[in-house]
Structures are given as structure tokens and as C-alpha cells.
């Protein structure tokens, strides 16, 4: 383990705000993240087109257009810097050369804009975690892992500046837990399985980044866990209180990337980022209202309160009245960042942060656990424990307490069925075994067909 986090890097509310991280990173074309300004991170994807060899030229045309348009808009707006995120689609990870080709294409646009216009920039590359193609997932060997590893290698060689992934180790059990409301399965996935996969995977990613002195291991996200819960809650399929507690608990597995050498910025869809920032001091990317092109968000403003990169999650390259969607969102993000940066320059960053917080905080359980105060409380609970399992429990119990206190104080309104679920979550979390062995044994008995112990280095236990 490279970093042990037993104390908070940011322990005071006044230090936890957007644009500033105790450990800023420098990457790409003279870009600094977390060094005083919030910067836009533009995330994009293809329209409905099958990614295959027959369509490859069309695919390249799209990314070429995206790169050209986004950079032009950033230059026109005199953005102080920009990050482009290239999320590889599954087919591009399965054929690593494809992902590398697009990486190189986008990097060329950034390089040209830097040379011609002085635009500071960086390219984040995020291969798809394709290791769960088989059930149960085989995470540490086999063709999917080899292709994923190769994707990282080739994208680094092609010029990727920041390496990220939305890793899925543990998701096979977590999805079951969400669907059946089984807190034990959720806690086992987040606190026992996922941290083990994160540790192994991020050792590999950090090693891949080391092959190029210009590449940094950025960070991961609990997207497949907490954002799945968030979107299911939005569709009224899951309780919001459950999604909120899952969000807090998911910070523990995302933290493991930093324990193994990730430097930030974490992925934009890691809404647990503020907890990571409070613990590690590393910069984070966040998304909120700006991600409305991709999905609904109950944390549209509050999500920006502590960000260092402000992202739009993902937008298709389709034509709008003002131009193509990625360039339109470049503009939207840049203006958002401008406002936050002007507030900061005038010494009003904390005021702006608090306005963003207050506008959302008590309108959704998921926002309630994202406030700066809640962030510090959850982060402190995490570092007070010594292993990922106990940290996960502590985060969940703290989040549930925050929701209960908010509701009791008349701040957070909860529908009867949400209240019922909060009580259930509290009871189940307080009744969990204090050590992971008992929970893992129970999950092996009940849902052992879902996960392969070898994928987590647990075979023989």
C-alpha cells in the first residue's frame, strides 16, 4: 500500500471548497488541476452508430469533429484550461488499437490548440471495464483483462494524460443487493469485494501510467454501484435513502485507488469525490446539473461545491441549433467555471459554495449526504476505522444518521415508504457483524454463485 489515510487532508470546512486541493496535479499541456481554478471537463460520446470495422471511418470523423469543435469553443471563450474525457466504448476496449487511435486523434487537437493559442489542456482516457463479460466475472485473468490492460498501455503510448476507469469489481453482488434490498450483499460488495479488486486493479493502472512520464493515474468511480442506485431511485425503483447511504459507503472502495497511487482527478461520475478530496487532498472532477444531457441529477448544484473539474458526464455528438452538442456543453461548462472562479477571485468562494449547497441540500437524501459538513463527517468516520469493511460500515451508519437527524429536525422531508426504509437500513447496518469474515461466509452460502473468490484473491478462504 502506497498511501495510508488515517487522518483527513482537509479537516476544516473552510478548506473544503471548489477549485483548490491540497495536492493539485499538473498534467497534459501545462494544465494544473486543483491549483486555484475550476476547469471544464468535456465528456462526449457517439450518436447511435454501431462501432465496428465497417463504420470505423465514420466513428473517427465524429471524434475528429468533437475534438476540433470543443477546442475551438474553449479557445473562443478564452477558457483558462480544459480537460477532454474520452470514454472508450466496449468495442474500443476490446480492440485496444481503436481506443489508441482515437486517443492520438484527440491529443493532436489539444496539442495544436496549445501550440497555436496557448490553450492549456489534458486528455483523460477511460477504457471500459469489460472484465464482467462472463458470469461470474473473471477479474484478474483472461482475455477481457488482457484487452483492458492493453487498452491502458496503448492509450498511454498514444498520449493519454489522465488514466481512469469505472471499475466493476463487486458489482455482481452489489446489483443483486440493490435489486433485492439486501444490505448485507451491498456491504459485502462495497466493503469486502470491491476494495480488493480496486487494490489489484489500481496497482496495474499505476504501473501502466508509469510507462509514460506525462501520464498520471487519475482515479476511479463508484458509478456502477452508487450511480446505478441513484438512477434507479430517480425511476422510483429504489428508495432515495438507500441510494444516499450507498453513495457514502462507496467512497471507501473509490479511496483504495488513491491508497495504491492514484493522484486525481477522480472520475466525474464519482459523486463520492468530496469525501475522497477531504481524505486525500487530491483534486476531483464532479458533474451535476451540467450532466442533464446524460441523466437526471438530484444534486445539480451541490455537486459543484467542492469540485476542481466540472463535467457534463457525456453528450452525444449530435447537431443542435448552436452547433454540435459537445461544443455547446463546452460553453455551458466554461461559463459555470467562470462564475465560480470570479467568486473565488473576489474572496467569495465559500459563499458561492454554501449557496450551491443550500440550494439542494435538504431537497433530496442524496444531496443531504453531499454537503461539505456531511462530507467531513463521513470522511472522518472512514479514516477512524482501519480496514475497508469497517470503513464501509462506518460510512453507511454515518450517512443514515445524517438523514435521520435531518428528518427529525424537520429539514429533510421523507415519504412514509422512505422513512420505513431508513429505519430498515439503520437496523440492518447496526446488526452487521463487526468483522468481514462472518458476512463474507454468509454471502458465500447465499449468493456464492454470483462471484468468484479467485477474482478477489480470496480463494482458499
Amino acid at each position: 500500500m502506497r498511501n495510508e489515510y488515517k487522518h483527513l487532508a482537509i479537516s476544516d470546512l473552510s478548506g473544503l471548497r471548489y477549485g483548490v486541493a491540497p495536492k493539485p496535479v499538473r498534467c497534459g499541456n501545462e494544465l494544473q488541476i486543483g491549483a486555484g481554478q475550476v476547469l471544464p471537463e468535456v465528456n462526449f460520446t457517439l450518436p447511435a452508430i454501431e462501432v465496428c470495422a465497417a463504420n470505423w471511418n465514420r466513428v473517427l470523423e465524429h471524434y475528429d469533429e468533437i475534438g476540433r469543435n470543443v477546442v475551438a469553443r474553449a479557445v473562443a471563450l478564452r477558457a483558462p484550461g480544459v480537460v477532454l474525457e474520452f470514454e472508450l466504448l466496449p468495442a474500443m476496449t476490446e480492440t485496444p488499437e481503436w481506443g489508441a487511435e482515437i486517443t492520438a486523434l484527440l491529443k493532436r487537437h489539444l496539442r495544436t490548440a496549445h501550440e497555436k493559442h496557448g490553450l492549456k489542456s489534458a486528455l483523460r482516457v477511460t477504457p471500459t471495464d469489460i472484465r464482467d463479460q462472463v458470469k461470474p466475472p473473471v477479474l484478474r485473468s483472461g482475455q477481457p483483462w488482457e484487452r483492458l490492460r492493453r487498452s491502458f498501455e496503448l492509450c498511454v503510448a498514444a498520449g493519454g494524460d489522465i488514466l481512469s476507469i469505472e471499475s466493476v469489481g463487486g458489482k455482481e453482488l452489489h446489483d443483486y443487493g440493490l435489486m433485492y434490498g439486501d444490505l448485507r450483499a451491498i456491504v459485502c460488495a462495497l466493503g469486502v469485494l470491491a476494495p480488493r479488486d480496486m487494490a489489484w486493479l489500481w496497482d496495474q493502472i499505476v504501473e501502466a501510467a508509469a510507462a509514460n512520464p506525462n501520464a498520471i493515474p487519475g482515479g476511479d468511480t463508484a458509478c456502477g454501484f452508487a450511480n446505478t442506485a441513484m438512477q434507479l431511485a430517480h425511476q422510483k425503483m429504489l428508495p432515495e435513502v438507500l441510494a444516499a447511504v450507498v453513495r457514502a459507503m462507496s467512497a471507501v472502495r473509490s479511496l483504495v485507488a488513491f491508497e495504491r497511487g492514484a493522484q486525481g482527478p477522480s472520475k466525474d461520475c464519482a459523486y463520492e469525490g468530496p469525501v475522497i478530496k477531504a481524505i486525500t487532498g487530491c483534486p476531483i472532477a464532479m458533474e451535476g446539473k451540467s450532466a442533464t444531457c446524460a441523466h437526471f441529477s438530484p444534486v445539480g448544484n451541490i455537486a459543484a461545491a467542492m469540485c476542481d473539474l466540472w463535467s457534463n458526464e457525456s453528450v452525444q455528438n449530435v447537431r443542435l441549433l448552436a452547433g454540435n452538442a459537445p461544443e455547446a456543453y463546452t460553453e455551458l461548462l466554461t461559463y459555470d467555471c467562470r462564475l465560480m472562479n470570479v467568486a473565488a477571485a473576489r474572496g467569495q468562494a465559500l459563499v458561492m459554495r454554501d449557496w450551491m449547497t443550500e440550494s439542494d441540500e435538504w431537497l433530496s437524501p442524496q444531496a443531504a449526504v453531499l454537503s461539505p459538513a456531511a462530507t467531513l463527517r463521513i470522511a472522518q468516520a472512514i479514516v477512524a476505522e482501519s480496514n475497508p469493511y469497517r470503513r464501509t460500515l462506518a460510512a453507511g451508519r454515518t450517512a443514515a444518521a445524517i438523514l435521520r437527524e435531518g428528518h427529525t429536525a424537520g429539514l429533510l422531508a421523507l415519504a412514509p415508504r422512505e422513512r420505513q426504509w431508513l429505519g430498515r437500513i439503520e437496523d440492518e447496518l447496526s446488526g452487521m457483524p463487526e468483522q468481514e469474515d462472518a458476512l463474507l461466509a454468509a454471502m458465500r452460502d447465499e449468493q456464492g454463485s454470483l462471484f468468484d473468490l479467485r477474482s478477489y484473491g480470496l480463494a482458499g478462504q
Binding site: 454501431e50 463479460q133 439486501d182 452525444q316
Partner: protein
């Protein structure tokens, strides 16, 4: 029907053990297995679906009820087979090639089972050939395609075209769903039906069966 109310409650409450025990007791008391399924158990799941639509149940309650339904069906099934009863229909379901998302598909699968269908779940990232093989192997009446990414939606069209080219007859109906999918898209690609949620998927499947069983 002395066991009807407790069995209904067991399914509504997601109590699999109780549902299985009560189904067994109902059969022992002489209840006709087909009546038990069609007049009590399936309506119980329909009520679960209604409670979900009314936002009284979340997915966990819905799936736990589905599990209770399946537990009761396991007890009843041998009697149904012996009586020559057939499922409502046979469904092959999967997420299309290139797409790894499966939560929505799993939900639909569970609801279809609760609705009396025999479901063969192929998982995610399923190429057209596997759908074709499964349709033939299981003599499917319906094939249900799921996609969650706009870039994988075209694979739905590819799959449907492959089905027709492979000679899968028109009476094997195709239904599609998934977050980016729309009725318009379903029409464009020649699907027989589209549903935007798990409970309406059951209603759609029943409509596609047109009142016949498999």
C-alpha cells in the same frame, strides 16, 4: 379456497418459504393446480405490479414477491406438467451485443416469470446467433431485446434482421426496451412491441401472445 388469502399475502409480502408451504398445502387440500396458478398466484403478481406502478412498492418488494411466486410455482409445477398445462408463453430475453447492462433486463425477466411465462435469460452482450439458437432450442414465442446505450441500439435492428434472415417465423414476436429505446425506434426496426417498464412488459407479452398459450 381456504389457503387463498394467506398465499396471496405470502406472495405480496415476498415470503418465499411461506408461499411454497401454502402452495403445497393448497394442492394437498385438492385445489386444481391450474386454477391455483391462474386464479390466485398470477393475480397476486398482477397486484404486486399494480403496487409498483402506484409507487407503493420499490423494486426489492417486487422482486421478493417474484421470488415467492417462483417458490410457490416450483411446488405446483410438477402437477401442472402432469396435467399437460403450458406456460403463458416462452420468452428468450437478453441484452444485445456490445451492451453489458442487465439490471432492467433482469427486472423484466423476473416480472415475466411472475406473470406465468417461461423465461430463458441469455444475459448481456448477446450476439444475434445466440438469440437464434435459443429461440429454436426453447421453441420461444417471444424474444425480448434490451439495450441501455444509444450506440448499442443499432444492434437491436441487426438482431431482428438476423432473426428474419435465419428464417425465424413471424409468429415469434420481438419486443424491445431499455432507457434510450422509444416506440418510434421500435417501429423503425420492425419490432412487434415496445415497453418502457417491467410491468408493462408483462402486459405487452400477454398481448403478443394474443390470448394463446405456448
Amino acid at each position: 379456497m381456504s389457503q387463498s388469502e394467506p398465499l396471496l399475502e405470502a406472495i405480496l409480502n415476498g415470503d418465499a418459504k411461506a408461499a411454497a408451504a401454502l402452495a403445497g398445502a393448497a394442492l394437498e387440500s385438492g385445489m386444481d393446480p391450474l386454477e391455483l396458478v391462474t386464479k390466485l398466484m398470477i393475480p397476486a403478481m398482477d397486484e404486486v405490479g399494480r403496487l409498483f406502478e402506484c409507487e407503493e412498492y420499490f423494486v426489492p418488494e417486487l422482486l421478493l414477491s417474484g421470488r415467492a411466486m417462483r417458490a410457490a410455482l416450483e411446488v405446483v409445477r410438477p402437477r401442472l406438467v402432469a396435467a399437460g398445462a403450458q406456460p403463458m408463453g416462452r420468452v428468450v430475453i437478453g441484452t444485445v451485443k456490445g451492451d453489458l447492462h442487465d439490471i432492467g433486463k433482469n427486472l423484466v425477466s423476473s416480472m415475466l416469470e411472475g406473470g406465468g411465462f417461461e423465461v430463458h435469460d441469455l444475459g448481456a452482450d448477446v450476439p444475434p446467433e445466440r438469440f437464434i439458437d435459443a429461440i429454436r432450442e426453447h421453441k420461444a414465442d417471444i424474444v425480448a431485446l434490451s439495450a441501455l446505450l444509444t450506440v448499442t441500439m443499432p444492434a437491436m435492428k441487426t438482431t431482428i434482421e438476423a432473426l428474419r434472415q435465419a428464417g425465424v417465423p413471424d409468429n415469434v414476436k420481438v419486443m424491445v426496451g431499455g432507457a434510450p429505446v422509444t416506440q418510434q425506434f421500435a417501429n423503425e426496426i420492425g419490432a412487434d412491441g415496445y415497453s418502457d417498464n417491467a410491468t408493462s412488459a408483462v402486459a405487452l407479452a400477454r398481448r403478443l401472445m394474443g390470448g394463446r398459450t405456448t
